[in-house]
């Protein structure tokens, strides 16, 4: 792997849930993102993948653990010291309708980071730069003074991407960037993200529940279940030989677009994810796992190397 850009060490985040209860959204997650690399995070809703993404760019502070950007720990930095790093860490949101200010023109939306970071001198240079960014993301220049409601979902997502790359960041957290889009438009956005990565050497943390999208775009992936990483490794290794039972069921459950391969008799995962307020003891997946034993309830499995070249957190895996 190339040099490490961002590293998470034992990151945890709890949220109060009232009545002295606590939601353990993310527990003890460690991961690394290399320069120019895409790390995909997959998991079902409520598994903590968005919370993790937000902690990595210091949008929310962790309860415990730390994040390191090029070796420097967030916890040791005051907000003023962190300020220049903020520019390096940007985000693209899921909902292209809610993440753009409806009362700002496209020019003002994309110019905002340029002005915040004083990238350009003067209004004219800023507008020139906005036009270049619009061209880079495939938006015609004549849309400069239009407002978000005049665009389709895919075009709005392009505006969000232009805003994210405006200040020349090194990492973009993409939180379900294609989930609100139709399949033909989704592919346009995925192509654009890949082009921008190649041209600018960007790193992505790509969060999605759509497994085929994550597979396409990621170099490595981490599968999350109830706030923990249960399996991680190079994308093709995880997909071709998943080791953790949850990963296996998850990949099996995706409806395949092939009517000749109907999953009418394959075993399905029963039940639904348990509550993160009171997660099961030991392995968090054990209540849904058909292979669970007494050991799984008593002892929490840690991530360890498997023979398939991935890391999995399961007592059954060798």
């Amino acid at each position: 792997m190339s040099s490490i850009l961002l590293e998470a060490r034992n990151l945890s985040r709890d949220f109060p849930a009232g009545h002295q209860k606590v939601v353990h959204a993310v527990s003890e997650v460690s991961l690394q993102i290399g320069e120019g690399e895409t790390l995909g995070i997959v998991g079902e809703s409520g598994c903590g993948k968005s919370t993790l993404g937000r902690m990595l760019i210091r949008m929310i502070p962790p309860t415990s653990g730390d994040v390191l950007f090029r070796g420097k720990a967030f916890s040791e930095m005051k907000e003023t010291e962190f300020h220049p790093i903020r520019r390096q860490l940007q985000m693209i949101f899921q909902d292209p309708y809610a993440s753009l200010n409806p009362r700002m023109s496209v020019r003002d939306i994309i110019a905002e980071p340029l002005e915040t970071w004083r990238v350009c001198s003067g209004k004219e240079e800023t507008t020139q730069r906005v036009l270049e960014l619009m061209r880079d993301v495939g938006l015609p220049g004549e849309f400069l003074y239009r407002y978000p409601h005049q665009f389709s979902g895919g075009q709005r997502q392009r505006i969000g991407i232009a805003r994210a790359i405006a200040a020349d960041p090194s990492l973009i957290v993409c939180d379900e960037p294609t989930s609100a889009l139709d399949v033909s438009v989704q592919n346009q956005i995925l192509n654009l993200l890949r082009e921008l990565q190649q041209a600018r050497g960007l790193s992505y943390l790509f969060i999605s529940h759509n497994i085929s999208v994550v597979r396409h775009i990621s170099d490595r992936i981490a599968v999350m279940f109830l706030g923990k990483i249960c399996e991680t490794g190079p994308t093709e290794k995880v997909f071709s030989a998943p080791q953790h039972p949850y990963t296996k069921f998850l990949l099996e459950a995706v409806p395949k677009p092939d009517p000749r391969k109907r999953a009418e008799t394959t075993a399905l995962l029963q039940g639904e994810p348990p509550s993160p307020i009171d997660p099961p003891s030991g392995c968090r997946f054990r209540t849904r796992c058909p292979y669970a034993t007494e050991r799984c309830a008593a002892e929490e499995p840690l991530l360890k190397k498997t023979t398939a070249g991935t890391e999995a957190a399961c007592h059954m895996v060798s």
């Binding site: 438009v185 592919n187 890949r194 995706v254 409806p255 677009p257 092939d258």
Partner: protein, 325 residues
């Protein structure tokens, strides 16, 4: 041959807005065979939900069913009054919506909500209604049905709420179930459970009209598929034919877009452009603006459906239509 449960003929539903007539459903004909799952696939805004609501008699106020017939077991329900519709809605046709969070009443127990449907259509006692509710919960795989009866919607997970809605829809044993994106709000492992439940309902004799934007869901469950674009049906075939030898350029584009993702190609195939505004549809084929093979007829004349094989129909001039005739 057995009579089709649902037969729609030349259905048009429009909205009359300040900017003119918006044709949400445009000359749609389709049939749902008895005990079959018939799928409608299309992207957002293609009119698939409005088609479902037209069949249910639940078109929003600014819209109206302009023309066409909706035959439910041979009886035209398109011209029923609201009062007559109320008698068949829930008993003969019923619907499951996309969002199980907003389709349930938050201040009523789920048991009461299901009993309401029973008491409305059947002359039975409250105790009998409760008994039938428990049976309905059991049949859709809700664990501990007698306890779940007393739960409020917020106490249930998304998958359980969707099962409650399916139980509610099925409790009066309707002939036709319309499922509008029933798994879109659910996680994949739960989606797989609900899809299997749909197949089970179908094997028990219910005809299902399944609406989805997800080609994977359609491939896994349907016996017959219609592809919809900008309010019109573009192609109709059995799933194997549709997925392996699609004819319409739009269907081919969709299939390529999905297949490219699964083959993990470097640059993914896309369909250029965006879905046209339904207020300003082109005079000819609605797909002509995005079609790479658009010919001279395509831009000016709305193509008819024509047959290209057994049970395979396409609305395109290039598919053995006018140009070759």
């Amino acid at each position: 041959m057995e009579m089709n449960t649902l037969e729609i003929r030349n259905l048009c539903t429009s909205f009359f807005t300040e900017k003119g007539e918006l044709k949400a459903v445009r000359d749609v004909s389709l049939s749902v065979g008895a005990g079959k799952i018939t799928g409608i696939v299309g992207e957002s805004g293609c009119g698939k939900s409005m088609l479902a609501r037209s069949v249910m008699g639940l078109i929003p106020h600014s819209g109206r069913l302009v023309s066409g017939e909706i035959l439910l077991n041979g009886r035209d329900i398109a011209k029923l009054s609201q009062r007559e519709y109320c008698a068949i809605r829930g008993s003969e046709i019923s619907m499951v919506c996309q969002d199980p969070m907003t389709s349930l009443n938050p201040v009523m127990t789920v048991g009461k909500q299901v009993e309401e449907a029973i008491l409305l259509h059947n002359d039975v006692s409250g105790a009998e209604a409760e008994k039938r509710t428990i049976e309905a919960f059991e049949s859709v795989g809700i664990p501990d049905p007698d306890k779940r009866l007393k739960s409020y919607p917020h106490e249930l997970s998304g998958g359980l709420r969707q099962r409650v809605l399916i139980a509610m829809a099925m409790v009066c044993k309707p002939k036709l179930l319309i499922a509008d994106e029933p798994t879109t709000a659910l996680d994949v492992t739960v989606e797989a459970q609900i899809l299997r439940l749909m197949r089970k309902l179908c094997e028990d004799g219910t005809s299902i009209l399944l609406i989805s934007h997800n080609l994977g869901v359609i491939a896994q469950t349907c016996d017959d598929v219609y592809v919809m674009y900008a309010g019109s049906i573009m192609e109709h075939a059995d799933p194997v034919t549709l997925f392996e030898s699609p004819v319409h350029p739009y269907t081919r584009g969709l299939m390529n877009a999905v297949a490219a993702l699964n083959r993990n190609e470097e640059v993914l195939e896309t369909i250029r452009g965006v879905v046209p505004n339904l207020l300003h549809l082109p005079a000819g084929c609605p797909f002509s603006l995005r079609c790479d093979q658009c010919g001279k007829d395509c831009a000016d004349h709305f193509p008819e459906m024509h047959s290209v094989g057994p049970g395979h129909e396409v609305r395109c001039y290039l598919a053995g239509g006018k140009e070759e005739a």
